[in-house]
Symmetry: D2
Subunit: 336 residues, 4 copies
């Protein structure tokens, strides 16, 4: 941590700052410029992280030098992590395709979706049984009945099942049916939920929060890993900006940022990331070209009658077109 | 809902849209302009809310006319609601002052804070026993031990206790000790938690999400009210923007927006809203002048040794200065 | 400037960084922590500002400690500046009220507006003769004809005239008619225009850019002052955020920030800042309570027939109500 | 335009709204729902655009259905436009590569850069002679001397010259030396400058404003085209968001949006778009995969001694790596 004293700070102000640092078992260097003194704090990262220095008289500002996360960082673990989901691998040279409807609506809809996405190349079936909805009056999902359908259809079509968990108390039930637990954007900083999935043995798909910084996202993954669960996959799904033409602004530079800062795999969801089905095609290509390890795409056999997010779902025909192009890009990127 | 057909939409496209509307038990009006046909959908609000029309061929865009929330809206309930917390009133001509440390750290710290804020005019003691922290390695709060201190100190000083709930399973425990349950910014769309406090009999302080729209915030309150709990107080605490000088951008126009759209009371937290203790004073005055029903302010007897958010906490001396000015503004506003 | 070397930086990397610093005539301090070396650069502020260190191998990041602006800073000039506009003062204990229509439309409209705002307490008449409009097909203003009306009406009603300059070549013409030159939000970083008004002898009202940081805004004022013009007044007019209920998000914490960092006066425009006339009233009160030195408010005798921004204009009746309340708040703030 | 009356609107309120519409020579349809009446306005697009209806009593809100731009829209011109720069084509199956240093610093630097980027595949040399800088104390460019170098080096290496115009009065001088005029992000809504380049015969590269919406960007291009200049190329260069890890957030969905709404070509600047040279490589690939017609990339022979933006410049070696990968992606996209 760097502490910048303001130009009017007194010698006594500085001494009190120094005392606080040494009392915490840390050391420091002084750097005295023409108008300001700068204090560099040295020592244990976690102890430094706990220092609250802005409240001291004479302190102009403080600057943190190191991030608090460890287990997620590439500094800690230089090689790419490959997450194994019962034999299906995410990361490295693998291209993970997770596809299916936004919400599970019926056995027919789900089976039709699953057969189609399997045939076109997906390894994972996505579908929500519990839906987080802005209004309490919107369709909230089929709950356990939906989970049963997901498992049955997943087994029939040989697809791994990815589904969202909203409630800490549902962990045992959902774990019976799912292969990957999804943490949705609204829950990225629901720390109880992060700790709960961290204590489970299930792989976790961690979506980026609606306005989460890269650093907050990495720290959310650290919550999961610090409980002992190392199978975490990031999923970029668009962030909130002032732009209204798209539902969110898909931030593909996040793929490059995560690859630089962390060893964990990252996939991209262009369906939520744009909110417009016509944009899924170019953004899916761009995501893979940016270095993503896979895609999560909403596919619905009949988007115009979907109970949720029909606006951004692809028909099977369009999903086929997208995947054909994506495979060519993946080929350039050295993915199999 | 208004459906805008695109200029190349065919007659068949339009007929399929019309059929979807009438199949849903709704009616419509056509308005045919020079280049586009516009379809106005009429009928039950909730049914309309469920329509997914963008996936239809020929549809350019859709525009929602009405919001989905009802119970929170001023349209539904024209007069201001006054929330009664065991005799202390929030809303109307009352000025609610909630003050205290960010986190409960010890009996001494809490009691010293409480006596001071009580003497200066607060009716509520704030303090976190469970702290949502970005990093898993930061201080997470004293848990039930902290709740016990809050209750004991609240009783001793005759202050109502406001404290945050993070975990649905903690509702019974926290309800034993607290007078008001706080939903923090990161949990504003943790719908399980909203439903849980909605089923309790406790007043709820609902902080605005870090990047929540006014509409999402009102819908979050609707989740609580739709479970039968009508004692909801909004709390504006700053939103995330590109500006880095302040921790958040305190959005005081949200006070005016909530007053226009809803009958529920709203208070403002200038401590989190700015993240800089020097700014609490002007922003506290401005909040009351904007029409807020009260304030939530961090006060710590010794901010420089606080375990959490010392950077934005006021000393008792500064809190006194702020309150003296705030009372004069409140007087102009007709508050008592 | 602080340079953070990354954990894998070599001794040679560090030596090249050190050489660059000493070659620039600067000195440095090293602070060697457990995993990273930190280099504190010391010396002339402007020389440091010109250093580009991120391109060096082994550099993880750089952190700027000091801002580049000087003349605008309170550090440089501790006392509040009062800008004198031919005898009417802005700043200090004075309350500057600038009011009038968004655009000058006709002599009748302007005179009616001016008489009304004068009677209610304004000292300045605002009105655009050149209007920056998003679309080329929108009303662009009456140009010099509008300026003549402004001058004539200003003289008749004894109001100072504030009007916007869009074009560097119009400086002489506009200066003949206006008392204060306004730089609009879209031109806050039109550096040619800033230098042009900097070389004039006219007071300048500098609106905050649509998404300008506080630091960029101060630097824009520095452009004006560095050309020799010290009569600069800031005007907060709302920033762009994700919120769509309001046209912009009025950032009243900017008032407190400017007061802390600069000695120049600042006023607030709640009309553009919210885009909704109903919100002008609470936000005008809040602006003064936050410490603003005045207000800029759109008033139109007949908002429903205004050619520009009728949605956010007050009727004379409503302006009267606003001003009555504002005066009471100003009184509390020690303004005259 | 759709006008939504509020539930308490009276019959008289409605009649005044209707009168305003018919007085403007427009017609309307009423759609009466359970709680609200909705008025659909029909007629000439430009006349409708000028209506100011929110100021009327009883009006809850208005919704615009059509955009104001025409010449830029794909609706108006369904086929892709290919911009011809003296024989070098931008758009269609062509890949335009614009590369070179941020600022022109010396003949040696420029010539070395130009030879390198030419050899690696660029057709355009970029370089600023006039630099818009946040602080007046930063390097502002070599002015006409820099332009002369650009022309001489462009001729020597057979590269077209792209350079930024900041000042309307510099149009004749710059046009002597440049092949393409660049409008920078800070000037995207400098309407005088847009009209000036619109009246010239030079191709224009229009960068997206720092926080411009897609709609504002298209309207800015409309300003240029409405003056008779049809050779406009868009350039996405990142938008301002809350994220601080990158300098800007590169919005590649803007490529898809522009392709959907307009017939004009669009290129991407990943150097400014990320501000980090390590991210240029993945984002350049992603831009082409998203459908961009080309790239603008900062290349400097010695980034660590660059006078401007060294942090985001590539060395020639890294530019070569980027271009090799980009060509493979371009190949998949059917670009030559």
């Amino acid at each position: 941590m760097i502490i910048v004293m303001n130009p009017t700070a007194t010698q006594e102000n500085l001494m009190r700052v120094e005392k606080k640092i040494t009392d915490a078992g840390l050391t420091f260097h002084l750097s005295t410029g023409s108008s300001r003194t700068i204090v560099g704090v040295i020592g244990d990262k976690t102890t430094i992280a706990g220092l609250q220095m802005n409240a001291f008289d004479g302190v102009e500002k403080t600057v943190r030098i190191t991030e608090k996360y460890k287990l997620v960082s590439r500094e800690f673990h230089p090689n790419d992590t490959i997450v194994d989901v019962d034999g299906v691998k995410v990361g490295g040279k693998n291209m993970a395709i997770m596809a299916g409807p936004c919400a599970v609506e019926s056995m027919e809809q789900l089976l039709e979706s699953a057969k189609c996405v399997k045939a076109i190349g997906a390894q994972f079936l996505r579908g929500g049984a519990f839906k987080p909805r802005t209004s309490p009056y919107d369709f909230q999902g089929l709950a356990e009945q939906g989970l049963k359908m997901l498992r049955e259809v997943g087994d029939k079509t040989n697809l791994k099942v990815v589904t969202e968990i909203l409630d800490v108390n549902a962990i045992d039930m959902i774990s019976q049916y799912a292969d990957v637990l999804q943490i949705g954007a609204r829950n990225m900083q629901n720390f109880e939920l992060l700790k709960t999935v961290g204590r489970s043995k299930m792989p976790v798909l961690l979506k980026r929060g609606i306005s989460a910084t890269i650093s907050e996202w990495l720290n959310a993954a650290e919550y999961i890993m610090s409980e002992g669960n190392y199978r975490v996959i990031f999923c970029e799904r668009g962030i909130r900006t002032y732009e209204t033409f798209t539902r969110n602004t898909l931030d593909l530079s996040a793929v490059a940022a995560i690859k630089e800062l962390s060893h964990l795999p990252i996939i991209v969801d262009p369906s939520h990331g744009t909110g417009r089905w016509k944009m899924v095609r170019p953004m899916a290509r761009a995501a893979i070209a940016a270095g993503a390890d896979g895609l999560m795409i909403e596919v619905h056999p009949h988007p115009e009658i979907a109970l949720s997010d029909g606006d951004q779902s692809l028909t099977p025909e369009n999903f086929k077109i997208v995947m054909d192009e994506v495979k060519q890009i993946a080929n350039v990127m050295g993915k199999e």
